[in-house]
Amino acid sequence: MYVELKNINKLFGNFKASDNVNFEIEKGKLIGLLGPSGSGKTTILRMIAGLETPDSGDIFVDGIRINDTPPSKRGIGFVFQNYALFRYMSVFDNIAFGLQVQKQNKNYIKERVLELIKLIGLEGMEHRYPSQLSGGQRQRVAFARALAPSPHLLLLDEPFAAIDAKVRQELRSWLREMIEKVGVTSIFVTHDQEEAIEVADEIIITNRGKVEQKGTPIEIYKKPATPFVAQFIGQSTVYENNEDKIQLKGFEMIKSNEKAVIRPEFVQITKLGKLKHYMSAAEEGIVEKISFRGSYLEVNVKVKNIILTSNRSLEDEMIEVGEIVNVQIYRLYVFNENKTYLLENSAMADNNYIYI
């Protein structure tokens, strides 16, 4: 494994920023550290860079323990959240800084910097100052500056947080492309799951200083390992069996100490009377709200006092607010304090069994 964190702990006063953090990263991968704010993701990044020191535990990069290596000797490139470009230096000098510190040959520095400026598509802007650049351009310069000394590992702290929504979309795919091109192992921190899912090869989810789960975006989406991940990922409705004394058809076996997460893709809405299969598993619901989301409709439907969300194709027959519809729930994630599991709708499963 290229980067390894073993039993890392870090306290800030009474606040446990890292609580026994363990994970491993393969060489060449682009990793997203995802979690709500205050979950300790930036602390992890800063400890790898050497800007913070862990209270206990070991950090390995390429098989070497780097805890006691000074930050500048770790061979790590760091992109700061607000870029931290040197405001009194031009774009060229910003990118050249790391190389100048290493006392590289002047011609080489010039060549390397111009090559990077070309890579980030800012040719002709090398004499500008950071204040004369747009947010997206600054981000690109920060990226080039971090890459200039050819680091083994690139760390990015909330790389898109300070950029407006439209440019952010563009930059995401740009960054993904760049990192693939350069082939550097990278870790980026984000609180935006859409961003993590879109950009990262693998996602590490943190919560309250702990690593909750590590896996590819699909794994994390399909098999949430902990209750936190089940609720955090996706657009989820949390459902409890006991309190409301409601039971959804096919899910009677959910125990009173358990909760369940229902995602939009688990819910199918059908016009009343048009349902062909699994009639026994269908609930009746009232359409509460329909929102147009561009390529699909998001429908909120009330079933036994629970508001469920479902996505509906524009190709489907139109439904209206207030209409009574059939609602089927295929499956849901059940969780209690310490485990989660996927539960298929038993009414539908039974039918299946009979037909086979």
Partner: protein, 269 residues
């Protein structure tokens, strides 16, 4: 319309106040200093003791400015770039000279270094003179002007944050390189402004210096002390003539200050 009236009244009051409190006295100083004719003015200014006093004032000022600039940058740096226990306490300590009367500052040094002071035996053994000697005057000046430089830089450094320095450190830049390449360009104007204020204050310092000087004419007299002595001896036109030197120096500093402030603002945009 009503707003306009308020504005005009406020402006008039301010101008009237400044005229009575500042402009008229300053003009008076110049007029008084010239009332015995230009020859008398020249004699007063080129008097042996006046020149000595001017030299001592400049020496004390330059020493205080150099030392306080170093100290100020150093203190501002550690206060803004590091977090440590007792940081707020240190910040408060730096402000002490603003709060304490200069006379008390002078007395403190007498208590420490004077005949009954703690360090007296030690100083005596190595034949070091502080009280009633030039080092005492320099010490007093340093004490009084101590917060000016750091006070000007701290807000600027705070606003800048630590990121740029961290970024440079991550790339392997030494502390010195980080300071000269990243921090200094940032604090340049605030630093100059602080130095100018420090200079102005150091030149005019009276209280603390007065206690420590012993008023030895030609030896431990600074300009402000010399002026007081002349005044007490009823040499009014000489006193005002020497005062005019300080006034002119102050005006030069004010002009410099305005230029620096203007340039600093422009650089900040």
């Amino acid at each position: 319309m009503k707003n306009n009236a308020t504005k005009n009244i406020l402006i008039s009051i301010s101008i009237l106040f400044i005229t009575i409190m500042l402009v008229i006295p300053l003009i008076a100083v110049i007029i008084y200093s010239l009332q015995d004719g230009i020859e008398a003015y020249k004699i007063a200014i080129f008097d042996k003791y006046t020149i000595k006093a001017l030299q001592l004032t400049l020496l004390a000022t330059v020493s205080a400015v150099v030392i306080n600039t170093f100290f100020g940058i150093f203190a501002a740096w550690i206060i803004t770039k590091f977090s440590f226990r007792g940081k707020h306490f240190l910040t408060t300590l730096i402000d002490i000279p603003f709060a304490i009367s200069p006379v008390i500052a002078g007395l403190i040094y007498i208590l420490v270094f004077g005949r009954t002071g703690w360090a007296y035996d030690f100083l005596q053994a190595y034949d070091i003179k502080i009280v009633f000697a030039v080092p005492g005057i320099i010490l007093a000046t340093i004490f009084v002007t101590f917060p000016f430089v750091s006070r000007e830089i701290i807000p600027v450094l705070n606003a800048q944050g630590k990121d740029e320095e961290e970024a440079a450190a991550l790339m392997g830049a030494s502390g010195f390189k980080i300071f000269t390449k990243i921090t200094l360009p940032h604090i340049k104007w605030a630093l100059l402004y602080g130095i100018i204020l420090c200079t102005a204050r150091a030149m005019g310092e009276f209280g603390a210096v007065s206690v420590l000087s012993g008023h030895l004419r030609g030896k431990t007299n600074t300009l402000p002390l010399h002026i007081e002595m002349l005044y007490n001896e009823f040499q009014l036109s000489s006193a005002f003539a020497v005062s005019s030197i300080l006034v002119i120096m102050a005006v030069i500093i004010l002009i410099l200050r305005t230029i620096v402030e203007y340039k600093g603002k422009k650089a900040g945009e």
